[in-house]
């Protein structure tokens, strides 16, 4: 089934809960209302005509500058039986975004959602093990948000590497090696 047929099947089943869709984008997608995503996901997997049994990728994207400023969770689905793929999007407010989890539909969502929570701060309600996955457990803030500022210290460690060399230069020490008088021949230049 091509993207249009999939979008129509979803619209037929869920009506206005599928708010909009864009079929000409690189990977065609449909925007789903936040509270309906679990239902839509279960339907996508159960429906024999769609049979999206594989969640290819679940990614969070932060759009602070777009109107209205929002954060999106993009589900890329694929069906091994029909070999067609489709994407679902959920749009969330930027302050404490929350989405119902789809972990019960696809097992891999468990880790993808933990990563989205870890790097974006998107809470997945009903998730069995909502912990940080990549960053240390006591890290504050979510780095992949566009308005992220590197903290100065983390448990007493410099987060931004302090330019030690600059301190040594300020104390008058000349650091570095060179200049060089020999010139190795350049083997990359095209011989005329």
């Amino acid at each position: 089934m091509d993207a249009g047929a999939i979008r129509d099947a979803l619209a037929l089943k869920f009506g206005e809960r599928i708010t909009s869709a864009d079929l000409e984008a690189g990977s065609p997608f449909a925007v789903v209302r936040t509270d309906a995503i679990a239902e839509v996901a279960a339907f996508c997997k159960a429906e024999p005509a769609l049979c999206f049994d594989n969640l290819m990728c679940l990614s969070g994207v932060d759009y602070p500058k777009q109107t209205p400023p929002r954060m999106e969770v993009v589900y890329h689905l694929f069906s091994y039986r029909h070999r067609h793929s489709f994407a679902l999007k959920v749009q969330l407010p930027r302050e404490n975004p929350a989405v119902p989890t789809v972990e019960s539909v696809w097992g891999v969502a468990n880790w993808h959602e933990r990563e989205a929570w870890d790097l974006f701060g998107i809470v997945f309600t009903g998730h069995s093990d909502m912990r940080r996955i990549l960053l240390p457990d006591d890290w504050e803030g979510h780095p992949l948000r566009k308005d992220w500022q590197d903290p100065e210290y983390y448990n007493g460690l410099h987060v931004k590497p302090t330019p030690q060399m600059v301190d040594r230069v300020l104390q008058g020490e000349t650091i570095g090696v060179g200049p060089f008088d020999f010139t190795p021949e350049n083997r990359h230049v095209e011989e005329p």
Binding site: G176, V177, G178, P184, N186, R187, H188, V189, P192
Partner: protein, 188 residues
């Protein structure tokens, strides 16, 4: 019972097959090279340490913008109008004085992205890889020279027209034909 016998026989048989192979490898010539005494012949294009010919640099900063890890830092000043005109070896006039040009090889990721945009081919990677040092700061290489001898007359007008004029955009570093393929890859 049959499965028990087959297990034993198959275990015994495959062990012997494996031992036959290792026995043959006892007499195969070993491939290791004794590093300090015998060195591997490096192919001409190997990307090891960055080098920059100060005399040719026109201070355009393309390499600074291209570097993904920002390990090149450059400071330039406008050449005073009355200063004697100088050219790079590939024919571009040099209008900026490069007062400082440092490449921090400890940050460099050896991706060669700075070599392509250089209009005068003055920054390139040399196949010299033995530059380990005790102090990390010795990996900061300074290429700005006070007593550099620049070309004082336009090489284009003097030399024969076949000098490689600077092609527009990223100069294609098409591979120079290596004289002989090094022993390594031929597996000989």
């Amino acid at each position: 019972m049959k499965q028990w016998l087959e297990d034993i026989w198959e275990g015994f048989f495959t062990v012997l097959v494996g031992m036959r192979i290792t026995w043959r490898h006892l007499f195969t010539r070993s491939v290791t090279l004794q590093y300090p005494s015998v060195k591997w012949p490096l192919p001409p294009k190997s990307r090891m340490r960055l080098f920059m010919k100060y005399e040719d640099c026109i201070g355009c900063g393309q390499c600074v913008r291209a570097c993904p890890v920002a390990c090149i830092s450059m400071k330039t000043e406008k050449r005073p109008a009355d200063a004697p005109p100088i050219w790079a070896s590939t024919g571009q006039p040099i209008k900026l004085d490069v007062t400082a040009f440092d490449i921090d090889m400890s940050l460099c990721c050896y991706c060669n992205l700075c070599v392509y945009p250089c209009p005068t081919f003055c920054i390139y990677m040399t196949p010299e890889y033995e530059f380990a040092t005790k102090d990390l700061t010795e990996h900061l290489y300074r290429f700005a020279k006070k007593d550099a001898q620049f070309l004082t007359e336009d090489p284009k007008s003097k030399a024969a027209p076949d000098t490689p004029t600077a092609p527009g955009g990223s100069p294609p570093p098409a591979a120079p034909a290596p004289s002989n393929p090094p022993a390594g890859p031929a597996g000989a």
